[in-house]
């Protein structure tokens, strides 16, 4: 069975959708962070797949993915740091409690 481009893209799309869904529904900040990672990784898959299937002679997509992974790592680190701060402040990582500022 040949692997077509869609066989990669559809899972990646599902991943992205899961990420979005997870972000919107999860209550725990860490879980939300994981959802975000899902989304970013889905995008990375996109890049890689496009590179592999559409532009096989080039590496731009791959490089892009590398950088994207790096950035995602930085983001995660930063987010974790902030979550820790929050935890220190309110002793909880429940997102429902982080809505003091509104309207």
């Amino acid at each position: 069975m040949d692997l077509t481009i869609m066989m990669y893209l559809i899972p990646s799309l599902i991943m992205f959708a899961c990420g979005v869904y997870g972000f919107i529904t999860r209550k725990n900040l860490i879980a939300i962070l994981i959802s975000l990672e899902l989304m970013l990784n889905a995008v990375d898959i996109n890049f890689v797949v496009f590179n592999r299937f559409l532009f096989p002679g080039q590496m731009e997509g791959m490089f892009f993915t590398m950088f994207a992974i790096g950035i995602a790592a930085a983001e995660t680190a930063l987010a974790i740091a902030i979550i820790i701060n929050i935890f220190r402040a309110v002793k909880s990582v429940d997102i429902r409690e982080i809505n003091k500022m509104k309207f």
């Binding site: 900040l29 970013l40 995008v43 532009f55 950035i71 902030i82």
Partner: protein
């Protein structure tokens, strides 16, 4: 590899040097010496700004075209520098306070790193460099937002900021992956992509890609409906960071937005993103205004005000012509001075008394006439009242938007104009609180620090002078004229 290509990146290099000076000084300087971090940062930065402006701006490329600079790009960078100087001036008092002084150096370093990112974001002509610049500009900001370690609001603001930021970059990257798919050649150079867009294939994916890219930028520019983090973050962040977020971050993103839209998606202008922006501008201005009129917290108030201001800035992009670009850059310049003028007063009062409610400004003129005066000018300028600079920037940006002569844009400008009345209303509320409210003043008489005063005077000078002295606009116009073809060649 030709190392001389680094010379085209003069501004980035200088910034790097300043960053290093501050970093090294902060790292290796003694506790006594660190007291002077702020003046040092300020002086180095000012010197660098002047140097950037004075040194010949020989435009050019680097890294085989991934990096590009020209007159107008140097201008916008210089403008951002001016803003940073003003932000530094008003943050000195806060950062030197007992609570924050230990992290003094980090603040300046983070600020310069983000600025560095913005420089690259503006100068990038390849999406890889662009994404790096963008993330470099937005991630350290999260740390800055969370700077007030002992305040819960600061953390909440940071959470909201970082999560939305990551989400937005995911969306942006998704959009970019579509673009990549469409690129045809597999190249992420702007110019290559533009050719592919111009060929007009795969329109559905393109539309979605553009929508996602705009949404990604919408986060940085706080366009409605991507703006929802803005108010909370602005409110919770330290005032200086809010000021920084509201002008510098927004100003650089607007210009980069113009670059991406015009240079990459230029061929899809009249078909696609003109209408996307059209809708976004209308709701951005309107929703921003509608929220602003109810706000009682000055920082939150300024947040919504900046949301609606972003809508006005977008008018310079939607016109997609030289006058529009000039007016947009000019608008950013004026906006920096006006908005920072307001923040200067807000932070001066907050630093002294910790009060940031609009009601705390009641009767301010009795105790602090100069602060009231500065705030009044800033408000008038933001509302677009002559002879202050805001009027000029506003009328010129409207003027640019009308060049194409399409009735739709006339309608858009009319809507924007009607919205200026609402905005005038809430800006006047502040003026009213200061001058008209009969209540006894809440804020006692005090004398601001000399940095704050210098900052305020600079802002006042800018507010009064930028419009009346037409040199600024002409200068920007000349610079953008030289670069007009690069920017708008692909436009349809």
């Amino acid at each position: 590899m030709d190392y001389s290509q680094f010379l085209t990146m003069g501004s980035e290099l200088m910034l790097l040097v300043v960053f290093l000076i501050v970093f090294l000084f902060d790292t290796f300087g003694g506790a006594k010496a660190r007291e002077y971090t702020s003046p040092l940062a300020l002086i180095c930065f000012s010197v660098m700004t002047v140097a950037m402006w004075l040194l010949p701006t020989n435009g050019g490329e680097a890294f085989s075209g991934m990096y590009y600079t020209s007159g107008i790009i140097t201008v916008i960078k210089t403008i951002l520098n001016l803003g940073v100087i003003l932000v530094i001036l008003q943050s000195v008092k806060w950062i030197d306070s007992e609570e924050a002084k230990i992290r003094r150096g980090e603040f300046y370093e983070l600020m310069m790193v983000t600025l560095f990112g913005m420089y690259f974001m503006i100068s990038a002509r390849h999406f890889l460099l662009f994404i790096i610049g963008l993330e470099c500009a937005s991630l350290p900001l999260a740390a800055m937002v969370a700077f007030n370690k002992n305040q819960y609001e600061s953390h909440e603001a940071a959470v909201k900021y970082i999560f939305t930021a990551v989400f937005s970059s995911a969306i942006l990257l998704l959009g970019l992956s579509f673009v990549y798919a469409l690129s045809g050649t597999g190249s992420l150079y702007f110019s290559d992509l533009a050719t592919q867009v111009a060929s007009g294939e795969n329109s559905m994916l393109l539309v979605l890609a553009i929508a996602f890219v705009i949404a990604g930028f919408g986060f940085k520019l706080s366009l409605v409906p991507f703006h929802l983090w803005t108010a909370d973050t602005y409110q919770g962040a330290p005032t200086s960071v809010t000021a920084y977020l509201s002008v510098i971050s927004k100003g650089s993103a607007s210009f980069a937005f113009l670059v991406v839209l015009a240079q990459v998606f230029g061929a899809a202008y009249s078909q696609v993103w003109e209408w996307m922006l059209y809708g976004l501008i209308i709701i951005t201005i309107t929703i921003g205004n509608l929220f602003a009129i109810r706000q009682k917290n000055m920082k939150r108030f300024m947040a919504f005000s900046s949301v609606s201001q972003a809508g006005y800035i977008m008018l310079g992009i939607i016109s997609a012509n030289v006058i529009g670009m000039t007016s947009m850059v000019f608008y950013i310049l004026v906006y920096i001075f006006s908005n920072l003028g307001a923040f200067a007063v807000i932070s001066a009062i907050e630093n002294k008394t910790g009060k940031i409610g609009m009601d705390d400004y009641n009767g301010l003129h009795k105790t602090n006439p100069w602060l009231s005066f500065a705030m009044t000018l800033a408000m008038f300028s933001l509302a677009g009242i002559p002879p202050f600079a805001g009027f000029f920037s506003k009328i010129l940006i409207f003027n640019g938007a009308l060049e194409s002569g399409s009735v739709a844009l006339y309608v858009l400008v009319l809507i924007a104009l009607i919205n200026t009345i609402i905005s005038l209303y809430y800006y006047l509320l502040v003026v009213k609180a200061m001058w008209i409210s009969p209540e006894e003043p809440v804020v006692g008489e005090f004398r601001s620090s000399c940095y704050e005063r210098l900052g305020m005077w600079l802002c006042i000078a800018g507010i009064v002078g930028l419009g009346i002295v037409s040199w600024f606009y002409t200068y920007i116009y000349d610079a953008s004229m030289l670069d007009a073809t690069t920017f708008f060649a692909n436009l349809i």
